[in-house]
Point group: C2
Chain length 242, copies 2
């Protein structure tokens, strides 16, 4: 079973205070880029892997999806989702992405925001997603970028006066990375970009877009704290088609 | 016209002394990985963009290609190729990848080793390559990895005792990077991985493999100096199909 950090009280409390938790999709700077990668979902069946508070599920329902299934490991997240982002075509269920089994051809879009880096066996997950998609169906997901995750000393460094840089090391040492983010010992799994893309291709997907997220000029202007995002990618956004 | 560094005497002399120049393909640690990405070329028409001393052209001819065209900007390289790697089915010609025009459907495999990072307009190049390939044809190339190229202070740093790291900054500032490698002011063009893959997809290609080169355990044992290559990718290897 995957590590269930979201049901730790201190993690859940910290996560609940993030902009993306308070403001929903509009609090996530990468959302416009991810949204631009989505297919038309009107009348389509949508599954959200790691749905959290259900912001995307409700958005998909309001955008015309015929049914939306939000899956998450965290009972805390699902309780909030059921209370705060309910919708007639949305249902929320507990699921572990490490052992997930979805019905064959049961979805037209499978979406996931910042959940796959918690999954140890991504190849198994991609194969299951491919089987669960109807022919022509889409997978659109974001995950932490391997440049962001690789180093055992991740974090900004000023290596020369005025030059802020992000260290990359251990890039080819794939596997668990333990970090302290909102809670101690949060385990994420580092995979190279090649590993991720080749696993998708091997699962049968055609890669349709690969976005290393960088805020737009308008976002930089509105939120100067984002400026450092031009230095290195934090998120990887991928769309692929069955 | 692209910068013609290979015809500078000091660059050519330095380049001629590299392992990959002296030993040919076997002197390039990434060659086995690149070779594994090639389709069967028996009876196929092959073009090598940036053929240098012609090692790959001769290899392709000996592997059964029906015709091989080696293109390079450098007269020095081509003179050496004609003298040292001649073959009945191989011809060598001057060409500039910035303005390259190839016949429609004239090739089954277009190959390039470490030349595309000298090209300013990669999207134009990919579109031309796509047109030049017969349906089902392949593009297989290597280029410097954006993690290797991005920083304005590229080079190893010891940020903590015993931790050697590679700085990444200015990742989203695409464009020219001037470096001193064998000669002063060598200009290469940094593009994000997303930009490269999306430009190929937009040109009509299906991405079939993305390899961030890491030496094999046998290569590390045979050449301990390669050990640092596990820390960050130096080369990006891509195969794509028309």
């Amino acid at each position: 079973m995957a590590q269930n950090i979201y049901d730790r009280p201190e993690f859940f409390a910290g996560y609940s205070r993030l902009a993306r938790s308070v403001a929903g999709l509009s609090g996530a700077p990468e959302w416009p880029a991810l949204k631009a990668m989505l297919p038309d979902i009107r009348g389509r069946r949508v599954v959200d892997l790691g749905c959290g508070f259900g912001w995307f599920c409700r958005w998909a329902a309001e955008a015309g999806a015929s049914e939306v299934l939000g899956l998450d490991l965290s009972q805390n997240m699902l309780a909030r989702a059921r209370a705060e982002t309910p919708h007639g075509v949305v249902s929320y269920q507990v699921a572990d992405l490490e052992t997930l089994e979805l019905g064959e051809g049961s979805a037209d879009l499978i979406y996931s925001s910042l959940a796959f880096h918690y999954v140890a066996d991504a190849a198994r997950l991609y194969a299951g997603i491919h089987k669960a998609l109807a022919p022509g169906g889409h997978l659109v997901f974001s995950t932490e970028h391997p440049i962001f995750m690789a180093s055992t000393s991740a974090g900004w460094r000023e290596i020369e006066p005025g030059v802020r840089t992000w260290p990359v090391d251990h890039y080819f040492v794939e596997g668990a990375r333990s970090t302290d983010w909102l809670s101690a010992g949060v385990v994420k799994y580092h995979r190279t970009l090649g590993t991720t893309l080749n696993a998708l291709i091997r699962a049968g997907f055609t890669i349709t877009h690969v976005e290393e997220f960088c805020p737009t000029p308008a976002q930089f202007t509105a939120n100067p704290a984002l400026a450092e995002e031009v230095e290195r990618p934090m998120f990887l956004l991928v769309s692929a088609m069955r």
